[in-house]
Every structure is written in structure tokens, then in C-alpha cells.
């Protein structure tokens, strides 16, 4: 098991390294792209360009620049923004992380609970009208653009019904958990629900499929032969085994959301998380901030992938030898 974890960790580090090189090359070495021209602004004269290039170290060979950036990012941790001169990148990211984590974690709790309930109900009531209804919810979930759903939610809660039904909804923004837990939850409620609405349906679909598959297994027949109740078979036997793939998928989705897919939700609801930070730095092409955010995001995705694999190996010894 230790061997497996070691191997998996080495692979994760390798992937992170490759991603960092890839991001660096995308922004600094794409043919025809000149970061200096962006920093200096449009129609800058050649002397200014030269000066900017030298000042930002853009006239040095690419491997050295990559090394320098990584050193500033991870070793000295003093990478500064190109746009707001002197602003440190890492504190900005650290400040944004709790916002993103709050958003994704809260949404994840809601969608997991809803998904499990809906999926189990659909599997237990297969053949009734409930089943296709749940399936449709799942399809709608993957088909609605999250940012658009967010806009519509804003339209209803902030404008159309704000004077009546939703008069208790606070304006868009974020309040820290340590500042006021109640306000924190209130501000995040609709972002949570928006994000969870999309995932709950997908998870319900998957849970239903896994349970139906498990119900055909031999151990379920054995359980029936022992005279267990259908409810007990469904929950203690079928649902339990169906959870393994669901949990692994959850790990991946959670990582992907924290690592960037929450960006659209943050932008729409004005939450100052990492996604919003990335988006803002993309607007003015602040390369060090983009680099930092992308590395942070990749770290979460790679970490989630690795944790899922290790958990899988812990559950199923066959995987360790693969």
C-alpha cells in the first residue's frame, strides 16, 4: 500500500510539473504572443518595449524564466503582479481560497444529499412516474449553463421578486464565516443552490443506475433468500455498494470545481473566490496571477485525482497491483 501511495504521489508531482510547463508555455512562448507588448500597452515605442522586457526579465531564455517564476511562486513565495506593481500574488490567492471552498463545499453537501435521496427513490420506485422524472432532472442538470441559471436566480431574487418573496435575500457578495456564520450562509445560499441544482440531477442518475445494477447481483439474491426486507436490501446492501463509484466521481467533481469550474458561479454571484480572481486577472492579462491561480487549480484537481485513486486502492486490493 505504501508503494502504491508513493507511486501515485510521484505521478501526481509529474503531472503538476507538466501542467506548470504547459501553462508557462501557453502564456510566455506561444508564437506571436509578446507579454511585453501587453504590459507596455498598445503602440508602445521600441525603447519602452525593450525597457519593459528587461525589467520583467522577458529578455532571458525561456527555461531560465520558467525557473525564476517557479522559484518566486513556490520557494520565495514573493511573486508580484504585473499590473498592480508590488501586489503579492500568493496572499491574494490564499485570501480567495476560503471563498471558493465555502461555495463548493456547501454546494457539494446539498447535491450529495439530494442526489442520494433522489437516486435511491428513483431506483426503489422504478416503473412509476417518479423514475423518468428523476432521469429528466439529471438531463436538464447537464444541459443548463450554470452562469445562465445564476443570472436567472439573480433576476428573481434580486429584482423581480425581491420586494416580496425574496425580500430577505442579501445583495450579492461574500461575508466571511468567522465574521458572521449566519450572514455567510445567507449570502452563499443561492450560489449553493444554483451549483447544487446542476449536480444533484447527475448524481441521482448515477446512483439510480448503480443501484439497479447492484440489485441484479448474487449477494442481493442471497439477501432476499435470507428473508431480509426490501428496504434493508436496498439501503444496507445495494446502496452501500453503489456508493464506491459515486464517491470516486465526487472526488473528481469536487476537485474540478474547486480548481476552476466554480469560476462561472463566482463571476455571476460576485463572490471573490479564486475563479473570480483568475477571471479578473485574465481581463487585464496579469500573467503572474493567472499562473498562480492555474497552478493552485491544477494542484486541487491533481490532489483530488490522487486521493480518489488511493481510496480506491484501499477499498480494492486488486487496484494496487495494476
Amino acid at each position: 500500500m505504501a508503494m502504491f501511495i508513493g507511486r501515485r504521489a510521484a505521478a501526481a508531482v509529474f503531472v503538476l510539473f507538466t501542467i506548470s510547463v504547459l501553462v508557462f508555455l501557453i502564456f510566455f512562448a506561444t508564437p506571436g504572443v509578446d507579454p511585453a507588448a501587453r504590459i507596455a500597452g498598445r503602440n508602445a515605442d521600441p525603447a519602452t518595449l525593450m525597457q519593459v522586457r528587461h525589467e520583467f526579465g522577458l529578455d532571458r531564455p525561456i527555461p531560465i524564466r520558467y525557473g525564476l517564476m517557479m522559484e518566486h511562486l513556490f520557494v520565495q513565495r514573493d511573486l508580484t503582479s504585473f499590473v498592480n506593481r508590488g501586489a503579492l500574488v500568493i496572499p491574494q490567492i490564499l485570501q480567495a481560497v476560503p471563498v471558493t471552498l465555502s461555495l463548493v463545499a456547501g454546494a457539494a453537501v446539498i447535491w450529495m444529499v439530494l442526489g442520494l435521496l433522489m437516486g435511491t427513490a428513483a431506483a426503489a420506485r422504478r416503473g412509476t412516474a417518479l423514475d423518468p422524472l428523476m432521469m429528466l432532472l439529471g438531463v436538464v442538470g447537464v444541459s443548463i449553463p450554470v452562469y445562465w441559471l445564476g443570472e436567472v436566480v439573480n433576476l428573481l431574487t434580486q429584482s423581480r421578486w425581491h420586494s416580496g418573496l425574496f425580500s430577505w435575500v442579501p445583495p450579492l457578495g461574500y461575508v466571511g464565516l468567522s465574521q458572521s456564520p449566519g450572514q455567510w450562509a445567507l449570502h452563499l445560499l443561492f450560489p449553493w443552490l444554483t451549483l447544487a441544482a446542476l449536480y444533484a440531477g447527475i448524481y441521482a442518475r448515477i446512483v439510480r443506475g448503480e443501484i439497479l445494477e447492484a440489485l441484479n447481483e448474487d449477494y442481493v439474491r442471497t439477501a432476499r433468500a435470507k428473508g431480509l426486507t426490501e428496504r434493508r436490501i436496498l439501503i444496507r446492501h445495494a446502496l452501500r455498494c453503489s456508493l464506491i463509484p459515486v464517491v470516486s466521481l465526487f472526488g473528481l467533481d469536487f476537485g474540478a470545481l474547486v480548481g476552476g469550474s466554480a469560476l462561472l458561479t463566482e463571476v455571476v454571484f460576485g463572490l471573490p473566490g479564486v475563479g473570480k480572481l483568475t477571471f479578473d486577472s485574465l481581463q487585464n492579462l496579469d500573467l503572474p496571477v493567472i499562473m498562480g491561480c492555474v497552478m493552485y487549480a491544477a494542484f486541487f484537481v491533481v490532489l483530488a485525482n490522487a486521493v480518489v485513486d488511493v481510496l480506491y486502492a484501499a477499498l480494492d486490493p486488486r487496484v494496487r497491483r495494476a
Binding site: A11, F14, V15, T18, I19, L22, V23, I26, F27, T30, P31, G32, V33, R38, V139, V140, V142, S143, I144, P145, V146, Y147, W148, L149, E151, V152, N154, L155, Q158, S159, R160, L249, A256, G259, G260, S261, L263, L264, V267, T278, F279, L282, L285, I290, C293, V294, A297, A298, V301, V302, N305
Partner: protein
């Protein structure tokens, strides 16, 4: 699934495919035709496509407007009376203008106007063309490239497999939206130059290619796994034993067996790619003006969200309806062709 007899077959791959695997394909088609949900979805989807294709007709012959030039001081007719397309704002400080809302009159600003006085309905149809085009073409490219790479990695193994698999892993671990956003931001300003081909920054090919590239591993990874398990099966081993060339085995044994999975992916990827395009366009790094797509129209409507929500709501509904029909169609294709296909990219 396929026989490996060496009968001389007339040229033309479609003819050959029909001959060698008529059974399963025809059965699947019959199953799909009987799937009422899938057929209704297909019908609605085709209606959306048709409506978008008819955009110029609507623009010129029905609405008598120009979807791409602003109409700031124009007037239109509401309930038989002329009224301005952009009226001075009546709320707040009275600054700015409020475009006309939906008139529900197909000839005069059916869904109202956007902030520049352009007909939202006409723009919706034109935008749909781009959204559908980008979704469809990038899905085709992604599935095509993924088939080649996934089959090659699974079949040949060795160094090729190691390199390709690592590559898939890296792109896979890269958060999709961030990768798409990074590529878009860089390429939008400078365009893309590959050898003699240059793609301008505002070309539709840019989002098409970017979206195609980021989703290749989604299709390639499951295909590789499938080919890997096919590789050990008896009929392929028999082909190898008979001295068939790799190319022949790939063409006659491997490809027909992975094609169902690719076909299952195609409608689902089209929906996913369309959603990704709309998100990029919403962030104003997808389709560039003067072109429009459903995503850019939602973006146009942002400032008008509380006064003229239809500019935002209508394109979002179109995206949702189109994506739902494509996903339901994909489900139908899956149960007809390949019920066990693992989607969402599980390797």
C-alpha cells in the same frame, strides 16, 4: 462482430461498412426509431437547426431589420403606433437608454431589442448558427482525433501508449475551463499560426479548435481502454495469427467495434461543447464581435438583466433546450448501440 473473410469488396468505405456489419447497425437503427423520447428530441433539435439556418430569411423578409448594425435612433411599430427602439431610461437617475421590450409581434422586435437597438430574435437565430456550428464541428474534430489517438494508444501499446496516456492525463488533470480560458486569452489577441495556415483572432475556428482539443481525452481515454481489452480477444488474435496487417486489423476488426462508442459520444459531446462555447463567449473570450452566439447574447444582456431580462433569458433557454434534446438523443443512441458505454470519461 465482423468476419475476416477476404472477399473482394468494391471501393467506398460506406458500402463496405454496410456489408460487413449490417446486422448490428440495422438493429440499432430500428431500436432508435422505436425510442419515442429520442425521436421527439431529434425532431426538436432539427427544428432548432432549421430555424437557425433560416436566420437570414427571418431577418430580411419577416423582421425587415439588420441583426448586426446598431439602431440607436430608429423607431418601430407597437400595437399600430410608432415607438422608439431605445427609449430614455425612466428609472434611477434617468441616464442611459432602455431598449424596447418583447412586442410578441414577429414583424417588429418579437423579443425586443438589445442595448444597441438590434433585434434580439434575429440575433438569436444568427447566434444559434454559430453555437450549433461550433458545438457540432468541435465535437466531430474531438471525436475524430480521439478515435485515432485512443485506438493507436490501445492497439500499439509500448512507448506510443505511454506518451499518449501521459498526455491525456495532463490535459485531463488540467481544469477544462481554465485550459480553454488560457488558450482563448492568448490566441484571441494574436491568432494562431500553424505552418502556412494562419487563423485570425476573431475567427470561429479558434473556439472550435480550442474546445476540440480540451475534450479529446474525454473520448480518447475510454476508447483506449476498450481497444486494450479488444486486443486480447480471440478474433483479433486470430487475425494476427493469419498474418493480417495491423492496418487491416484496425480497419476491419477494431474500428467497427469502437464505432458504436464514438457515435454515442457524438451527440453528448456536441451538447457539452456547445455549453463550453457559450461559457467562453459569456466570458467574452469565445465568439468575437461582430459574430454572435447564444453565449455572447447572454453577455450582451448582462447590463439589461433587471430591465430587459428577455435578452438574457431567451438565448439561455435555447441553449438549454438544444442541450437537453442532444443529451436525450445521446441516451437513445447509447441504449440502441452500446448500453454499457462508460461516459463522463471513466477510463
Amino acid at each position: 462482430m465482423t468476419s475476416d473473410t477476404s472477399i473482394a469488396v468494391p471501393a467506398g468505405s460506406s458500402a463496405r461498412r454496410r456489408r460487413s456489419s449490417a446486422g448490428p447497425w440495422r438493429t440499432a437503427l430500428v431500436t432508435l426509431r422505436r425510442d419515442r423520447v429520442a425521436m421527439i428530441s431529434l425532431g426538436i433539435f432539427l427544428l432548432v437547426v432549421l430555424a437557425c439556418l433560416l436566420a437570414p430569411v427571418y431577418e430580411h423578409s419577416v423582421a425587415h431589420t439588420d441583426a448586426f448594425t446598431s439602431n440607436i435612433s430608429g423607431t418601430t411599430i407597437v400595437h399600430g403606433k410608432p415607438s422608439p427602439v431605445l427609449a430614455p431610461s425612466s428609472t434611477g437617475l434617468g441616464l442611459g437608454v432602455t431598449p424596447i421590450g418583447p412586442t410578441w409581434d414577429l414583424h417588429h422586435y418579437f423579443l425586443g431589442a438589445d442595448g444597441q437597438g438590434r433585434d434580439v430574435m434575429a440575433r438569436l437565430l444568427f447566434g444559434g448558427r454559430n453555437s450549433l456550428l461550433i458545438g457540432g464541428v468541435s465535437a466531430l474534430i474531438a471525436c475524430g482525433v480521439a478515435t485515432v489517438l485512443g485506438v493507436a494508444a490501445g492497439y500499439f501499446g509500448g512507448v506510443l501508449d505511454a506518451v499518449l496516456s501521459r498526455l491525456f492525463d495532463v490535459v485531463w488533470a488540467f481544469p477544462v475551463y481554465l485550459l480553454a480560458i488560457s488558450l482563448s486569452v492568448v490566441l484571441l489577441t494574436s491568432g494562431l499560426t500553424v505552418g502556412p495556415v494562419h487563423i485570425e483572432g476573431d475567427s470561429l475556428w479558434l473556439p472550435i479548435l480550442i474546445i476540440a482539443v480540451i475534450y479529446v481525452p474525454y473520448v480518447a481515454r475510454p476508447l483506449r481502454g476498450q481497444v486494450l481489452s479488444l486486443r486480447g480477444r480471440e478474433f483479433i488474435q486470430a487475425g494476427v495469427g493469419n498474418g493480417a496487417s495491423d492496418l487491416r486489423i484496425l480497419r476491419k476488426d477494431v474500428l467497427p467495434n469502437v464505432m458504436p462508442t464514438v457515435l454515442v459520444f457524438l451527440p453528448l459531446m456536441t451538447a457539452l461543447n456547445m455549453l463550453t462555447e457559450s461559457a467562453l463567449s459569456f466570458l467574452s473570450i469565445g465568439v468575437q464581435p461582430p459574430n454572435a452566439s447564444w453565449g455572447t447574447i447572454i453577455n450582451d444582456g448582462l447590463g439589461l438583466l433587471y430591465t430587459r431580462p428577455m435578452v438574457t433569458v431567451a438565448p439561455g433557454l435555447m441553449i438549454a433546450v438544444t442541450a437537453v434534446t442532444l443529451n436525450l438523443l445521446g441516451d437513445g443512441v447509447r441504449s440502441a448501440l452500446d448500453p454499457k458505454a462508460r461516459l463522463r470519461g471513466a477510463a
